[in-house]
């Protein structure tokens, strides 16, 4: 049945929508004066940082704001009918049938105690009253459509038996069961690995076309929106600040926030010394502390007192463009093409002597084969296989890989939380691989420190910021008296550019970026010479990421630190690292200078990884390489080459060598090595994945 037949206006029309949440103390406006419309077959992106209200809009459309949330103004029309005026009955008929939603956490959005088949079949059974047999047939069809292997078995499984990527495909299948006319996707790939994300995005795009579904795509990732949407709407602090087609907004942006956002993400042209990122100053305003007038005013370079902070600012159309509007009073006065004011250009530092050397490091774990029921059988998980590299003073070495690649295990072994199974770690020529952290001397411990991923977890919530830094100083034997250490702590706060008053604050009073700064201060408190940064910015908002990254770089330059930067985000890796190490299932598959790794010849995995990373630049052309299937479990790795199950070049290797033998490490140029069976001739045939379109 085609639900589009009877109606040909916009599928979704949101007009001057305002949503507030009511707490006991006050009304908290989450969305204000928000308008957007979605035409049939169109994909509209909703972009903004966390807390900007983009998910609230989605829930508003679904009329599912919970007990505290209320629509306090405006209307949401779906195919011309106001959703707010529908009865519960009518609404239920629309939900899941005409509007479907896909969420961020696939695992959480599937019922753990219900078989997948049941959960899928429920949709047509409710909305179309079909019998079980037909529903089953439909489910089977859709599961095949989302390209899941062995659909019958899938329908018969429980959610926990599937991998994250498969679960998200099931969620997509569930949304498509009733062929809805509008699909809302709320950060559908955030929880997934990059290569899996690329495949899911591809799938969503294809299915959107196939079913003729309109989409509202919510994301914080501009690159992803570029790849999936026709139009987009940028949100800031509860308001839409800019709205238009992808081409207009990306290439002729008309709002300072959009511009600042683009300048703070590492696009291929950015470079940490020549063209550093420009962070947006200040912090995101809290919902009840929004400024007068323009919400972005206090952080805006073009702010004009008395004008921008006077009255509420309305959306105004940008003349000449297709439905392009911006919420800026000065958009016609600003010279949008003015070159970025480059801050101080920094001298590129020269790497010094080798401080850390890994030689054939191996880490195996023995785990019980069956966690709950115990039993004698154990399995060996090879978390790290023959890891060898060197890191020099004031060098940034990026370690890139997806989940299960063994980067965290490596960090644990280096830190001394685990001891190595085999091989050596040399710190200034001394072996430390078998010394657990309790046995290390204070100097060694304070030399090797770590910055953690999750800013909300990195600080002890029940201790003041100052106290936590002082404790680190105490344990590292720094300072002779309490007074001394307090002074040193304040200096560390200066170092990470936090006001000294923060020393007495509790972590919950700090924003994510500020917490991460404290984490950095703590790591450097003992004069660390090697810092392992485990995805230090991946959980932060885009605009904060740039500031924290720059801070890290700056401290590194001053202290001549060796930075081991663990990340899955190749954009940021390209921006800041000197050398890159790519890992897959415990193996180092490629290692080399940043330029060497980012240009052909690639390891097939690196190639796929590069292709998978969304880039928010319309002038970039990418080769599409979509990897089949999921990352194998480290508990049960494939035979031979770890990547052979997903490799698109596998057929180029004769005699099925990939299935049988782990490839040897091959030196390509000086310092560039890959672990692959491909012959030199094949490697030479590789073309760059990312090309800047000819101007």
């Amino acid at each position: 049945m085609n639900k589009l037949a009877e109606y040909d206006g916009p599928i979704l029309e949101i007009d001057k929508l305002s949503i507030s949440f009511f707490t006991r103390l006050r009304e908290i406006p989450a969305v204000m004066d928000f308008s957007v419309s979605v035409q049939p077959g169109e994909a509209v992106g909703l972009v903004g940082e966390s807390g900007c209200g983009k998910s609230t809009v989605a829930l508003g459309v679904m009329q599912d704001l919970g007990t505290n949330g209320r629509i306090v103004g405006g209307s949401i029309k779906f195919k011309g009918r106001d959703l707010a005026e529908m009865s519960a009955e009518e609404l239920r008929d629309v939900r899941g049938n005409e509007i479907a939603m896909i969420y961020q956490e696939p695992m959480a959005s599937l019922n753990p105690a219900m078989k997948i088949g049941r959960q899928l079949m429920e949709v047509p059974m409710i909305h179309e009253g079909v019998n079980e047999k037909e529903a089953h047939a439909r489910a089977l069809e859709v599961v095949t459509d989302v390209r899941l292997p062995d659909p019958e078995r899938m329908l018969n499984s429980y959610p926990h038996q599937l991998s994250g990527g498969q679960q998200q495909r099931i969620v997509i299948a569930m949304a498509l069961m009733s062929k809805p006319s509008l699909l809302i996707l709320d950060e559908p790939t955030t929880a997934l690995d990059v290569t899996v994300e690329a495949a899911v995005v591809e799938l969503v795009k294809d299915l959107g076309k196939k079913y003729g579904t309109s989409m509202l795509f919510i994301s914080h990732n501009l690159g992803l929106v570029l790849e999936t949407c026709d139009r987009l709407c940028v949100m800031y602090s509860g308001e839409a600040v800019e709205r238009g087609s992808i081409a207009d907004v990306f290439d002729e942006m008309q709002h300072p926030y959009t511009q600042a956002l683009f300048r703070s993400i590492p696009l291929p042209g950015a470079d940490k010394t020549a063209r550093p990122l420009v962070a947006i100053p200040g912090n995101f305003p809290l919902p009840h502390e929004r400024p007068n007038g323009c919400n972005f005013g206090p952080r805006c370079d073009y702010f004009e007192a008395g004008r921008c902070d006077a009255d509420d600012i309305m959306m105004s159309d940008v003349p000449g463009n297709d439905r392009h509007a911006t919420r800026c009073l000065r958009f016609q006065e600003i010279d949008w093409n003015a070159p970025i004011q480059v801050g101080e250009q920094k001298e590129k530092t020269k790497p010094g002597k080798v401080v850390l050397k890994m030689d054939n490091l191996k880490k195996y774990y023995e785990v019980a084969a069956n966690a709950l029921f115990g039993g004698g059988a154990t399995k060996v998980v090879k978390a790290n296989e023959t890891l060898s590299f060197e890191a020099r003073e004031s060098e940034t070495l990026a370690i890139v890989g997806e989940s299960g690649c063994g980067k965290s295990t490596f960090a644990k072994v280096l830190m001394g939380l685990e001891t190595a199974t085999e091989g050596a770690i040399l710190l200034d020529g001394t072996n430390i691989e078998q010394i657990p952290i309790e046995a290390r001397d204070t100097k060694t411990i304070s030399d090797v420190q770590m910055v953690f991923q999750n800013p909300f977890d990195t600080l002890n919530p029940s201790m003041t910021v100052g106290r936590q830094i002082i404790r680190a100083l105490e344990i590292f034997d720094i300072g002779d008296s309490d007074q001394d250490r307090k002074q040193r702590m304040l200096e560390l706060l200066d170092l990470v550019k936090l006001p000294r008053a923060f020393a007495d604050r509790m972590p919950r009073q700090l924003s994510g970026g500020q917490k991460q700064r404290v984490g950095i201060a703590r790591a450097f408190s003992g004069g660390a010479r090697i810092v392992v940064a485990d995805e230090p910015v991946s959980a932060l908002d885009v605009s904060v990421q740039a500031a924290v990254t720059d801070l890290l770089m700056e401290i590194q330059r001053e202290e001549k630190t060796t930075l081991l930067f663990i990340s899955h985000d190749l954009s940021i890796v390209r921006y800041l690292s000197d050398r890159v190490m790519v890992m897959y299932l415990g193996h180092v598959v490629e290692l080399g200078d940043t330029d060497q790794v980012f240009s052909p010849p690639y390891h097939p995995y690196t190639e796929a990884l590069l292709s998978a990373v969304p880039i928010a630049d319309t002038s970039i052309e990418k080769e599409h390489i979509v990897l089949e299937g999921d990352i194998p479990s480290a508990m049960n790795p494939p035979s031979g080459c770890p990547f052979q199950t997903r490799c698109r070049w596998k057929s180029e290797v004769p005699a099925g060598l990939c299935d049988i033998e782990v490839p040897p490490v091959r030196q390509l140029e000086t310092g560039h090595q890959i672990k692959c069976h491909l012959s030199d001739a094949v490697l030479d045939r590789m073309t760059p994945v990312i090309k800047v379109a000819a101007e």
């Binding site: 209320r70 306090v72 609404l91 830190m415 420190q449 770590m450 977890d457 919530p461 590292f476």
Partner: protein, 480 residues
């Protein structure tokens, strides 16, 4: 002397409060029925976003409940205030209201101060945002103050142990037959089957609970925390072993354990004393490790603090376990500062023993959860010792659920103490504790209600208060 009626001169309020209560019950029922029958009204707003005061049957019912609750509360307060003013002229209720005057004063003082400064008092202050929590706290503090003031002979009207002739099983409000000068002239809540004053016994019984239950719970927490942290943090064999022990105790029917531990024969073997020696050592271990792990890197400070905290604790510990003429008696009399009456010690030990495995399991679970956090990893990577991480990084962040459980557990301990009293275990037979009083009263229950009901209601309201308090705390601590 005439016998006192229940309400005396303020009897005119009785029909009014009966009416108010009836209305309250009716409106609550109506409210429940209305909200169960009528479908949830979907908030459909008129454009413009004005929120009009809805006037559906739901809202009317809710309003009615609010009004009748208010009315009943005001009336109850009227009883209290008039009673305070009129005393025995306002009957038994008035006399009791007057007898409790120190408690009222203390409560009013406490609440005024707390509400005035609630923003500066952390979680405790937030409690005053939750009506449930406030009611619970008021109930708890009522009995705490009653216990304290009762212990210094402020509230009671007669000696709880003395028997007055002619008052055996007499109903509430019976006047003394031959009062002497200065005697209170009535048995407010009647006399029990040994002609003792039920009211005074109830008040004294509060002290028995207030002095044992919180302390025993604290000890149980010390034991549970000191063992639960390493079990959860290290896991492995240690965890298996300790969990096995905990499950062993948990699988023991509590009553059987009490019967086995609290009989005079077992007490004679000194077993409870040995157990006390073990269980009471845990606070020492706890504080010792707590301080040592914190100041490990600064020895001079470390020793100073250890000395300040541990010396008094050691003295208290040895005084506690050492008793003249028992199995543990190796300390010179001069250093043995105080003795705990044998019965109390046994009761104390068995209550701690029964409670600690549950605390252990809670702490273990929380630790296993918290140890996966990054800040624990950060502590590990800067070379902190395990005990520092457990006590300073993990424990403070487990405090929310632990505080809530602490309140619940005091309530549970109160129930256990009552159970012990009910079976006549441990406490001396003439003890006014609530369990024993209920046990004595129940034998004649079908004829005389008044000896058993007051302690039963007292225990009920205290435990209810603790439960409500825990609920309020839980709610407020989740709001962060």
């Amino acid at each position: 002397m005439d016998p006192l009626s229940w309400t005396g001169q303020i009897a005119f309020l009785n029909p009014i409060i009966a009416l108010a209560l009836g209305l309250l019950v009716a409106s609550v029922l109506a409210w429940v029925v209305v909200s169960a029958v009528l479908p949830e009204n979907r908030a459909i707003n008129d454009i413009g976003g004005t929120m009009t005061l809805a006037s559906g049957p739901r809202d009317i019912a809710a309003l009615a409940v609010r009004l009748t609750t208010l009315g009943t509360t005001v009336l109850a307060l009227a009883y209290l205030v008039l009673g305070l003013a009129l005393g025995t002229d306002a009957g038994i209720l008035g006399a009791m209201a007057q007898q409790f005057w120190p408690v009222w004063t203390a409560l009013v003082l406490l609440f005024t101060l707390s509400i005035a400064f609630k923003r500066r008092l952390g979680l405790y202050g937030k409690l005053f945002d939750s009506p449930i929590g406030m009611i619970g706290f008021a109930l708890v503090m009522f009995w705490v103050f009653t216990g304290f003031f009762g212990a210094i002979d402020l509230i009671i009207t007669h000696d709880p142990l003395s028997q007055l002739s002619g008052l055996k099983n007499k109903v509430p409000g019976t006047p003394l037959r031959s009062p002497e000068d200065g005697d209170f002239l009535w048995y407010l809540l009647g006399g029990d089957n040994l002609a003792r004053d039920v009211f005074s016994r109830m008040v004294k019984g509060a002290w028995e609970v207030v002095k044992i239950a919180p302390l025993a719970t604290i000890f149980a927490f010390m034991v549970g925390i000191t063992l639960g942290l390493p079990a959860g943090y290290f896991g492995g064999r240690l965890d298996t072993f300790l969990s096995f022990l905990a499950n062993l105790i948990l699988a023991f029917p509590v009553i059987l354990l009490f019967y086995l531990l609290v009989t005079p024969e077992i007490v004679a073997t000194g077993l409870p004393q040995y157990m006390a020696a073990v269980l009471f050592a845990f606070p020492l271990i706890f504080f010792g490790v707590l301080i040592n792990s914190r100041y490990r890197t600064q020895p001079s400070k470390n020793y100073l603090w250890l000395a300040i905290v541990l010396l008094p604790l050691l003295v208290a510990y040895f005084s506690l376990i050492n008793e003249d003429g028992s199995k543990i008696n190796f300390i010179p009399q001069a250093f043995d500062l105080f003795d705990i009456p044998g019965g109390i010690l046994v009761v104390f030990v068995s209550v701690v023993f029964v409670n600690s495995p549950t605390v252990f399991r809670i702490v273990r679970g929380l630790t296993m959860d918290i140890k996966t956090r990054d800040y624990v990893a950060a502590a590990q990577t800067r070379g902190e010792r395990p005990w520092y991480i457990m006590l300073w990084e993990v424990l403070p962040n487990a405090r929310g659920p632990l505080i809530v459980d602490f309140c619940l557990r005091i309530g549970y301990t109160t129930i256990l103490l009552g159970t012990l009293g009910f079976f006549g275990l441990g406490l001396p037979p003439e003890s006014p504790d609530w369990g024993s009083t209920i046990n004595e009263g129940r034998k004649l229950l079908s004829i005389y209600l008044h000896p058993a009901l007051p302690p039963a209601m007292a225990l009920l309201s205290l435990v209810l208060g603790l439960n409500l308090l825990a609920d309020g705390l839980r709610e407020e601590s989740l709001k962060d």
